[in-house]
Subunit: 565 residues, 2 copies
């Protein structure tokens, strides 16, 4: 495999061997390693010294179920710290079939303008992309697929990324060519915009799977892993109900973000639940699908296609985080409304979590009423028109709160808290506070741990364990739900890596990868100016009781500081 | 003397003796001490745990020339760190004649609404102030003076503070009752707004000067100090030309902020100079005055009253920082225009430096053309109407840059750089970078040092010395120009303090006070999460050459880190 280093100023490509110290990392861990090795901690995230990195995880390229994710990263324009955000879709598979261990985009164009970067076995080519400027993600993806064919993978930005909004993400095509698999968090779309790139085409042509050191052993381990995924009871739940399956549980625990995180229980949860989502999808028929894979080879298929009453697709997929942040958090209980808002933010190429949280802040500031989907759509139209108000919303919840004078803002390190109120699910609160990534449930969700989620004691330990596992999975390129399989058959992580690379790693490899990843990330953040003061939830969440449990976030600061010490 | 502690939730006053460790501090140093002793470093600056502190300097209360300044402070809503901002006018004199060493405002009202706080020898009284809500600073001051008489001092906020804009300041009356002496920096007006206070009335009645341990010695030292001030050649320059006297020098050095800090030399400097200002003022006649004291007893009188061609007052005073940030920085060369913009920001109660810098950012974002005074006024009208765009502008340059997607933003620790481009006057750049206050020329201006301002070597030492002196003056309650007198007769600092308090301090007292102040401030900031990464100028200022000198800011990071180590 190689490292491809692209200078977006000179339009040059340098193909380099993989440095030895990078070999045993991939995805999130490799991004942390590259940032520590190459990027000034104190650089302007949207300036020429930041780098945008794409790196497939260690197990990517083999269509292992739920294991072909693509990590993107850099110094975060949103948090100012280390950032990795991973997504499904076809980019991981194509980039690894191009033989790339990492793609590193450097510098900035000297003059404004938009470019396509086309990557194939022959190398890199820049093409002017002025005609795509301003296009929404869906239209842009369609135009590019018409031009480059249906087999290529594409990473692209919407207007949000072009306008360097801090909540902008990078969109990847799903297996059907829809740009709905999003490196959503931390403003990586703004970083890509700052590099002058509207899209990157990954064309592996008839590229091969990455080489496998011991194919027989790999096949055996793959079989064992796949079986373990399929047999896990949760896999079936997610297949039937998608990620929305968690909505009812979260509501029951009193942790469903409701009306600007002012309550943890939503009277409209019934129509937001996984069960209702499935029922609606089946009822509406037509384009709608209750079960849908975002990556080829996935056996869980937690995605879906949501259609209106007329059976016409509105958006794919509708996921729990969007249901929580743009649904209950905005007082909305109608899936059609949420699906339309979801399509808008996807087309704009901005994170539904941070944008949903920002809309909740806007509602607190009196710019919309909770429950008014039309007004929420109108505010997203401000984003599209790039008005000052639209830029405030598209800058995410933290900035929106500062500008609009709202104190009750659900963020850590400037990144929005996702669909689990940390006052009711305190282990996840520890994760939000202490992950180097800024508030992010995928950094270590604890909702399924068998603990009293309201008891502050012991949450640090539960969170640490979850964080190490997730940093490990993110380094493998494995989806959070691949964890169902790996959790039940942990030896398959070891066996797959050893068979793939000819290594002799032991049983603890998952957490070893996680530990090394988080160590590097914390090193980067420390030198970027982060301290223990940044590893805290917002003050109001430690004081304002959350209905119905009446709970506040009360995990002691010492516990937070001890998570990784 | 006493400490008065006001609970704005309970509307209660606690009169307390001065703790021993506070006795030998005043003004800025005392504010740092109180913040370290009492305020959580990580608290939400606009939440109930922050405190708003007023403290006169150690020499305040005796009408010593230029030595009756009032310091206000707290954890800064703008920077998130320690904050002291001092102002002239009558508040310092009145608060010390009330016998207050410090006024500490705590907690927050339970419900929204506006209050007046009336302080007299009898204690504190809250009165509803709903009828003043929304009033501009000038109308508010007039209404309060009608009601409370012309002898009281008043600290008040404008609409900017009410709306908790991060660039909002606190306005104090000058000796003529005009609310033009402003604790402008760091968002202290937003902090006052968060306490539900529209205004504080300081009514010392027939209160006495603070006691003097050795009146004869004090009188002698005062005489010597006054003589030294009067005889200093710069005093005359500032008397004749005001602070605008520095404009030509700054332009000659290539450090006059021009069109969003894109050049250091402005073709329109002639009509912005102190000489032209004086000429215009004399020509326009009527209300206009070229020489004007902001505090009773000041012998320098660097203030002025600016009138239009009709002789009617537009604003008082027009100062250099406003001329630079709202003049050359916006491409404006007409003093009438600048005076009108100045009146607007004063009436709104927002910092002319941070607002001017924010308008420069808005111009870069295409929201106005440089040189278009009408559009600048229109943008300030957005602030008055509290629109989202207005809130962006009123939030200061740092937030405006983030929201509007502008990288060339002149800020350190989120506070705007003032009228000396640090690429051309590098010692002041060291001050901007390393003062715990965020970018602030009054923390240690080096423009008059006899050094090559373009040479990066030795600037750290020059800045350190200036910073220690200024922290000392700010702790005495002395204006930066009192330094002309103290500099020429340094023994008068020692003599005045010993005579006033019966102390036996030695010759080094000024820098001792400065050192202790900055030590406390750095301690607060460190625990609030600040690191060396925050002690830097913006990246672009280290890379973008400044015309006409072609200079970049190139003082090594090691020098910056060494300033206070």
């Amino acid at each position: 495999m190689e490292v491809w280093r692209i200078d977006v100023r000179k339009h040059s490509l340098s193909r380099e061997p993989v440095p030895e110290s990078w070999e045993r990392l991939g995805g999130r861990g490799l991004i942390a390693r590259i940032l520590v090795d190459e990027v000034s901690r104190t650089c302007d995230p949207l300036g020429r010294h930041n780098k945008l990195i794409f790196a497939p995880g260690l197990l990517v390229g083999h269509m292992l179920s739920s294991c072909d994710r693509i990590s993107a990263g850099g110094k975060s324009p949103l948090t100012g710290g280390v950032k990795e955000s991973n997504a499904g879709g076809s980019t991981g598979l194509q980039i690894s079939r191009l033989g790339l261990k990492a793609l590193i985009l450097e510098d900035q164009p000297e003059t404004a303008g938009w470019w396509l970067l086309y990557l194939s076995k022959d190398g890199a080519r820049f093409e002017p992309a002025g005609e795509l400027a301003g296009l929404g993600a869906y239209a842009c993806a369609r135009a590019l697929r018409e031009r480059f064919g249906e087999k290529v993978a594409i990473s692209l930005i919407g207007p949000g990324g072009e306008n360097q909004l801090l909540a902008a993400g990078i969109l990847n095509l799903d297996k059907d060519g829809v740009p709905s698999r999003i490196n959503g968090r931390g403003g990586l779309g703004a970083l890509m915009g700052s590099k002058g790139l509207k899209a990157i085409i990954f064309d592996a042509g008839d590229g091969q799977k990455p080489p496998i050191a011991d194919p027989a052993a790999f096949k055996a381990a793959q079989k064992s892993f796949t079986k373990s995924v399929i047999e896990h009871p949760q896999s079936g739940v997610y297949r039937d109900f998608g990620t929305a399956a968690i909505a009812n549980l979260c509501n029951t625990l009193g942790g469903l973000p409701t009306r600007g995180f002012s309550a943890g229980e939503f009277e409209g949860v019934e129509t937001l639940s996984g069960e209702h989502l499935r029922q609606t999808v089946l009822q509406h028929g037509g384009d709608a699908q209750p079960t849908h894979a975002c990556m080829a080879g996935c056996t869980i298929q937690c995605s879906n296609v949501f259609a209106g009453e007329d059976g016409k697709e509105i958006v794919s997929p509708v996921e729990y985080e969007t249901i929580a942040l743009m649904g209950s958090n905005l007082g909305l209980d109608n899936l059609d409304d949420i699906a339309r808002l979801n399509w808008e933010v996807n087309d704009l190429g901005i994170d539904s979590i941070d944008t949903g949280a920002a809309l909740g802040v806007a509602a607190q500031a009196g710019l919309m009423q909770f429950g008014d989907a039309g007004r929420a759509l109108a505010l997203l139209d401000e984003v599209r028109r790039n008005t000052p108000l639209g830029r405030v919303i598209g800058s995410g919840a933290a900035l929106a709160g500062k500008v609009l004078g709202v104190r009750r803002v659900p963020v850590v390190k400037n990144q929005a808290i996702s669909g689990y109120d940390p006052r009711a699910i305190k282990g996840t609160g520890v994760t939000y506070a202490t992950t180097p990534q800024g508030a992010d449930h995928t950094a270590g969700l604890t909702i399924r741990a068998r603990i009293d989620h309201l008891n502050p004691e012991g949450q640090a330990k539960v969170s640490r364990n979850a964080q190490l596992n997730m940093a490990g999975y993110d380094t493998l390129g494995a989806c959070i739900f691949a964890g169902f399989g790996f959790g039940a058959a942990p030896e398959t992580v070891r066996d797959l890596l050893n068979a793939r690379y000819g290594w002799q790693v032991g049983d603890g490899i998952l957490q070893e990868l996680g530990r090394e990843t988080i160590r590097l990330e914390r090193e980067f953040n420390r030198q970027a100016g982060f301290t223990a003061a940044d590893d805290r939830l917002p003050e109001w969440m430690t004081e304002e009781a959350l209905a119905p449990t009446g709970s506040v976030f009360d995990v002691p600061a010492g516990d937070l500081d001890g998570v990784f010490e």
